[in-house]
Symmetry: C2
Subunit: 357 residues, 2 copies
């Protein structure tokens, strides 16, 4: 019987979700019209709650999609005419690069060695319109320091900067004035059922999409930025969206606001610290990312080698589900999500258990 | 207090949904990995259930999207290089035409008069690759006879035929051998929370998408047909999908299989007949679509003119929520969804109430 799920996504639900679902059905949320005042209120609760929780300034707007994969596509369609640039350090950043290829956007990339980060000085090719970075690589547990990300924009102020924070938010305390777009999906750090992505853009992104459209370049249809924006200004969406998902996001964000983002971030730091400490002192297993500057606080990857199956079985017997290693590391690594729903006590139990090995 | 919701979407939930949601949380469905055997089983329950319920032959495949709006885009991206053709008879078929414009697919259209259908002989321009029809227009309550749709394909066998059945399925008993693609969203006839579209394609659609890709034409990225298909063959999806939505779809489809599609269709016919009869004999209100050949059985539109507000208030007092007229008809029409979740007794109550006016 699994009581604690450490897989990095879909994650363990935030502990209040089931109660909110019950209330949603009681209040008829799943049958609400997405053109009603009641829906606009639900949408506003989610977006203004996120603005407060993540300290997002005015001039940034929130768009709802079906997934973060969809946002990958929309970012490239709307913000790139001819040339994107990608920092690639794992399977998900690589996939974003490949999506740019599929959309005929002629991407360039800088690829890091597996499990490593990037140098401080990164040269971006002339003609790049969009720099895309995966702030937290769910596949490898590499996290880019915020200063590295901000420097990309400082050195290249005419380019747009889009940040994939799928498996890190609400943990990173971004300075949103130093980037143009951030996005995530709700089934990771927010602990919600999958089926909703959140795309945050500033006015420079809106202007770029409008420029492309004026040139006769297709930027998509129902989910292009002008369509998103005209509906977002009314707290609506272009299509009938995942109304229940947006409702649950607003409720969980409010729960997090009550708990306090500072507390959530401090607890995340604490939990990450005790697990990395355990891994670095352990006889059988060790952290995959060794440079602490690049160690993700929210997705912690352990080299477990030939002990992988044994450790998985051992943890499962104690009611804990670790995440498999990603792709080719499936049988040699384990991944541990460290999201707001994971309590300090659960992490202490995990660490104590690993120490018994 | 509203007990019965006749809005045509999002609709009243199918009456078993809340119980299935409870079971889903009990079984940990929202935290399931979309790469697990458990998810593949959930996906198969939905797709094979739909195949049985709707009598869909082998050689057709099921793809899950975020909405039917997304499918509009995917249909055009994947099945059209240069030229689509659209039968337009309301706001939703018009929107599909407009999406083709936004995607630079050079569409042609034949537009019907408001509230009317089409002649039996429709000339399709040479060079058309895809014929798109909206079998049931949610905005106007116009439904195209199946024979009209099949004839388009018979007369133009080299063209692909895609059918928007968003607000009619599971009612229409399509002969799938006479069309190439059908799609719907779950928040209408299936009575599920919004946030999931189902796209059904045959092998000709797959071949067409592959042809476009081989020519270097972008057919989208994570949700293009080759990507959908390679995952569908494993009962998976390209991205983390709305797992809970797919689970609920499978459960409701099974409930409908137990009830019997024949019974569901007969009851739909009965409910539509008593409402149209009431409207056609009523002193104050009358059916918007007058030619019975084109009267939708699943979305019934009434001209309510100056009485609209009074009738709405009268029905609300009796616990019944009618749907507003669409767009410019908001204050002069009412729409009544006639979906499987609406019982005969509920329709008899509606008809009795209207007769008291």
């Amino acid at each position: 019987m699994v009581n604690i799920n450490f897989t990095p996504g879909p994650s363990q639900l935030y502990f209040t979700v089931e109660d909110h679902v019950r209330q949603a059905f009681k209040d008829g949320v799943p049958s609400l019209s997405h053109r009603s005042k009641a829906f606009e209120k639900i949408s506003t609760e989610a977006t203004e709650g996120l603005r407060q929780l993540l300290n997002i300034p005015q001039g940034f707007y929130f768009y709802f999609t079906g997934s973060a994969n969809e946002i990958w596509e929309r970012v490239l369609q709307n913000l790139v005419e001819d040339q994107s640039f990608h920092l690639v350090n794992g399977s998900f950043s690589k996939r974003l690069y490949e999506i740019s290829v599929l959309l005929n956007k002629h991407p360039h990339k800088l690829e890091a060695e597996n499990g490593k980060g990037f140098d401080a000085n990164i040269q971006i090719p002339t003609g790049t319109e969009l720099i895309a970075v995966t702030q937290n690589e769910t596949s490898t547990g590499i996290s880019l320091p915020l200063e590295t990300i901000y420097k990309l924009k400082e050195d290249n102020p005419s380019m747009l900067l889009a940040v994939d924070a799928v498996s890190s938010l609400p943990f990173p305390d971004f300075d949103y004035t130093k980037l143009d777009s951030v996005f995530f999906s709700v089934q990771k750090g927010f602990g919600l059922p999958a089926g909703l992505g959140v795309w945050i853009v500033n006015e420079k992104c809106i202007a770029k999409a409008e420029q492309l459209l004026a040139k006769g370049i297709s930027i998509g249809s129902y989910h292009n930025i002008p369509g998103f924006q005209s509906h977002a200004l009314k707290n609506q969406t272009p299509e009938t969206p995942n109304v229940l998902g947006i409702y649950l996001l607003g409720k969980v964000v409010n729960d997090m606001l009550r708990r306090g983002i500072k507390t959530i971030r401090q607890e995340t730091e604490y939990k990450a610290a005790i697990l990395y400490q355990t891994l670095s002192k352990h006889g059988l297993i060790n952290p995959f990312v060794t440079d602490s500057m690049f160690q993700s606080k929210t997705v912690i990857v352990a080299n477990t080698g030939e002990h992988t199956e044994k450790i998985t079985k051992f943890l499962l017997e104690k009611g804990m589900q670790p995440g498999d290693g990603y792709g080719s590391a499936k049988k040699t690594q384990l991944r541990f999500a460290n999201f707001p729903t994971h309590s300090k006590e659960q992490y202490e139990l995990l660490v104590d258990s690993l120490n018994q090995l």
